[in-house]
Assembly symmetry: C2
Homo-oligomer: 188 residues x 2
Amino acid sequence: MTRIEIIIVGIGGMGVVLAGRILARAAAIYENKEVVQTQSYGAEARGTAAKSEIIMNDKKINYPKVRKCDILIAMSQDGLKRYLPYLKDDGNLIFEQSLVKDIPKRKKLKTLGVPAIEIAEKVIGNRMVANIVIIAAAARFTKIVSENSLKRAITDIVPESMRNINLKAVDEGIKFLKSRLRQANLPF
Amino acid sequence: MTRIEIIIVGIGGMGVVLAGRILARAAAIYENKEVVQTQSYGAEARGTAAKSEIIMNDKKINYPKVRKCDILIAMSQDGLKRYLPYLKDDGNLIFEQSLVKDIPKRKKLKTLGVPAIEIAEKVIGNRMVANIVIIAAAARFTKIVSENSLKRAITDIVPESMRNINLKAVDEGIKFLKSRLRQANLPF
């Protein structure tokens, strides 16, 4: 793996920062990568936009700021609009289907819409884990970290009372991806 | 407040990243600052050096990388050595007294040694909260966030089972600072 840069954006309260911490830990501790993870708080933490950046590399990270990202996970339309300019032309765009409607038409972009909030609410019974549903689908779609590393990081970070539904959210995110790829006749 | 840049360094397992998250949340949510917080994982998370950077500002933060820092909190001698070049000449150096022995002689530097591990172990009964003892003393010494904001951030972030000893660690850190300042005939 060369350097991979990821931006997760959404609205405060969606768990964007937690999602970033989980991905960072999965990569650093369970896949032996060098990881730098940055989050902004402030106006953002108080209910508007929330953002987390993760840089992963096999080697030491010299420039710890995201330049052009490989993966943009957008949980809000505003977030997509604001950070799309930072996504590489042939990057991966993963978005929350119910909130992000205006998808850019770029030939080389790989896109995946995930109904993460719907899955979290209807299948798992808790809207709060939509962040995990979407990062699980994104992780498998882009091969950044394995399902197993993701689950181990969740077990480390998430409080015990919430652990099981978060682990179920990983399963459901991957299950969704599987069915979506099958529909499109793509290998899983 | 103008822009304040803080680096916390120590050894993996000392809770450097958690300390950074607590300071960031205290400033962002309870003191209405703009905050960017960065942590590195990797070789660092696997047991050697650990580092957390926090930038606080009243205004939007344009350059989110620490340049010269105002406050260096060093929980290890190695960490001090590595990050001292980034500390402003008239900055604040707060260090763990039992592990950092070689203190730079710089005229304008404001220094504070804290026996945080000893206080955590002997007074609170848990070595794990040395990180909170030291950031509480540092926060009061440098006036970056109030005791109250620090406690509210801890209540939000720390799991319930550990909450009380972490809150006690804030009290003990501040109590230590008070007695140290009194010894030196300085106002608290």
